[in-house]
């Protein structure tokens, strides 16, 4: 199947998923106990009778459910996810403001986890029964079991009180201003701790996985062939073995994007990182349901996009999948 047809197919599929998520959102609004108008307005007390009536009219809450559904979907397709009465802005705008911060956090965590995890795993696979390899197993079990928010808090204590060399809150230091380069460095400086915290659980998993995968690959016949050709061990490992060993890691990593976003909510809360997670948390505190649902929806879209990218990456890595 040609690349265009493939992409088109995937796009259609993704849109189908997005529609399904929207439908669930819709169902949630109406399945929740209480008046949907209240849900849409949020319960922060700014909803007086006039506002509620207005909402009822705008969203057609007196009309049959199917009509409402269609209205809801149509609005969403145009980018209208409702209005946040807490922040007095359209939900979509709010989310788009915060989206980049979360994407930055999640992507850096993911890439760090894959890079570090794979390196450690490959290193451990070269010395299968050594102390180092055992240490990797122990450390990865420990890393896997630590609650993300707790790790974050410990790091806050460490760098807040004991070794204050890194910022523990926020994304920017307001005292620093300058050109693009200076700003970026500042953001990066603030990114280190949250990204690392988020990445820990996944580093743990990927190092175990890549070690096991590497061990299996290293005992396969084509590695023996590569050695029989006279290739240096370095080439055998990094060119021939690694690409095959990486495939399970990519698969798992792709499937975990949703978990990463979930973890980001906790990490953002701990480090006051101004992303979708803190937005979600604040909207819960403020009973701002449209925003909350908007965040759920948008993060689902993120995951859908990530899944498609993973699928394409996977096809690129493994030629055997390309003829489909």
């Amino acid at each position: 199947m040609s690349m265009i047809k493939l992409l088109a197919k995937r796009l259609a599929y993704a849109l189908g998923l997005i529609l399904a998520v929207l439908s669930i959102n819709f169902a949630l609004i109406h399945a929740a106990p209480g008046d949907p108008a209240m849900v849409i307005a949020g319960e922060m007390g700014g909803a007086d009778q006039t506002t509620l009536d207005q909402i009822r009219k705008t969203y057609g809450l007196d009309r049959p459910l199917t009509d409402q559904y269609i209205t809801y979907i149509t609005r969403a397709a145009q980018g209208d996810l409702g209005q946040s009465y807490l922040y007095n802005q359209p939900v979509t705008d709010l989310i788009l403001q915060r989206l980049p911060a979360t994407v930055l956090l999640v992507l850096s965590a993911l890439l760090t986890a894959i890079a570090v995890g794979t390196m450690v795993g490959v290193w451990a696979s070269r010395r299968p029964h050594s102390v180092g390899s055992g240490a990797v197993t122990v450390l990865s079990l420990v890393g896997y079991s630590m609650p993300t928010f707790w790790t974050g808090i410990l790091l806050v204590i460490l760098f807040g009180k004991i070794i204050p060399i890194m910022p523990i809150a926020g994304m920017r230091d307001v005292r620093i201003y300058g050109g693009w380069w200076v700003t970026s460095l500042d953001v990066l400086h603030h990114l280190i701790l949250p990204a690392f915290t988020l990445a820990i659980v996944y580093m743990a998993q990927y190092s175990r996985l890549s070690r096991a995968s590497m061990l299996e690959v290293l005992s396969s016949d084509y590695i023996r062939t590569a050695r029989a050709k006279g290739l240096a061990e370095r080439l055998v490992i990094w060119k021939h073995a690694l690409r095959n060993a990486l495939m399970p890691v990519v698969t798992i990593a792709g499937l975990q994007f949703g978990n990463l976003v979930s973890g980001a909510v906790l990490v953002e809360t701990v480090f006051s990182w101004p992303g979708l997670g803190t937005l979600a948390f604040d909207s819960i505190l403020g009973r701002d349901y449209p925003t909350l649902l908007g965040v759920l929806f948008f993060s689902s879209v993120l995951v859908i996009v990530a899944n498609q990218v993973t699928d394409l990456t996977y096809r690129w890595i493994d030629p055997r999948l390309r003829s489909r």
């Binding site: 029989a228 050709k229 240096a232 030629p319």
Partner: protein
């Protein structure tokens, strides 16, 4: 030694100029007293004991025996591909063109591997890396050993594919292993092994995993290539028919030792060692078993390589066993000035 884009295609028999040293006198490959041990959970297994044989230029030597007798291990030892824990070469020399391969440094040995001495393996389905094209895998060897650039190496890969009989080589060179059948993959392996014009090709059971019809094709291919390039071949197999057709000399292995060696005609017509006799009698189609009668078999199984009792390892299964056989390892008896050997008390001078 840099060869850039070649204006005239090099055929198989023309080595890249300057890459082959002056030919040393004597046999091309000489294995002497090679012994290999393996650490297992239950103890140390002696998988090869004092294996010796010689291979001359252009010759084909067959190495035959049951599973586990050490034939593959011999090949891996020659290539120094034995995984170092848990295995190790404990004694012996492997002289290739006069140089002992076992004493070479790792980089020096890597120069030899895949270049002057090549090996192909038994399972073509899994012996090629699934994520690289066959052309890339062949070209890799050529680039490494012959220092060709990418274009020249790619051209050489196409040429090799043609030589091994893969149709539409120009297109197929950029395809992946999963797009080839088992027989085709084995051809690719052969192409890869011969790409640098090695002096010796070791073929470890190249057809065992293939269909019968394909087996014949692969053997034909090897024969054909061999006669065109003059490559010496060590053919490891348990197929006596292949031995009869393809080899000049044959060595029979049992429990890690060579128990008989000689020209193919002599060994097949007049086998000296009882094990060899049994092997030949077992092969279906031989005159010994009349049609409709049960096939001959050698009773018992190969003894464990962990505990070596004294005496001949075949003693428990031998129909001509003597009391002496269980006590002392037979001395090697040689005939024809060393051209014919057997490890058996029945043929020892002065043996009863």
């Amino acid at each position: 030694m840099n060869a850039t884009a070649l204006s005239s295609p090099t055929s198989l028999s023309d080595p890249t100029p300057g890459s082959r040293p002056a030919q040393a006198p004597g046999p091309l490959l000489e294995v002497e007293n090679l012994s290999v041990e393996f650490d297992t959970r239950k103890g140390v297994a002696r998988v090869l004991e004092s294996v010796s044989f010689a291979l001359n230029r252009g010759q084909t030597l067959g190495l035959v025996g049951e599973s586990g007798c050490g034939k593959s291990m011999t090949a891996l030892a020659i290539m120094r591909l034995i995984p170092n824990p848990p295995g190790r070469i404990t004694a012996g020399q492997v002289r290739f063109e006069g140089t002992d391969l076992l004493s070479l440094s790792d980089p020096a040995m890597r120069e030899i591997r895949g270049n002057r001495v090549s090996m192909i393996f038994q399972e073509p389905m899994t012996s090629l890396n699934p994520v690289y094209t066959v052309g890339e895998q062949i070209a890799e060897a050529v680039r490494l050993h012959q220092r060709l650039d990418r274009r020249a190496a790619h051209a050489r890969a196409i040429e090799m594919l043609e030589q091994v009989g893969i149709p539409a080589a120009r297109t197929r060179v950029d395809e992946y292993p999963h797009q080839f059948s088992g027989g085709m993959r084995q051809r690719v392996m052969i192409a890869m092994a011969l790409a640098c014009n090695p002096g010796v090709l070791i073929a470890d059971e190249p057809t065992t995993a293939l269909d019968v019809t394909v087996q014949a094709q692969i053997f034909d291919l090897i024969s054909d290539l061999r006669s065109r390039t003059g490559t010496a071949v060590v053919l490891i197999t348990h197929d006596m028919g292949a031995i009869a057709e393809m080899t000049d000399r044959v060595a029979v292995m049992y429990a890690g030792r060579i128990v008989e060696e000689g020209t193919v005609a002599e060994v097949l017509e007049h086998p000296l060692h009882p094990y060899t006799q049994g092997l030949i009698a077992c092969a279906p189609g031989r005159r010994t078993a009349a049609h409709g009668e049960p096939l001959e078999e050698i009773p018992g199984t190969v003894p464990s390589l962990l505990e070596r009792r004294g005496g001949c390892a075949f003693a428990d299964r031998c129909r001509h066993v003597l009391p002496r056989c269980r006590l002392d390892l037979p001395a090697e008896t040689q005939f024809d000035g060393g051209q014919r050997r057997v490890l058996c008390w029945l043929h020892a001078e002065g043996g009863s």
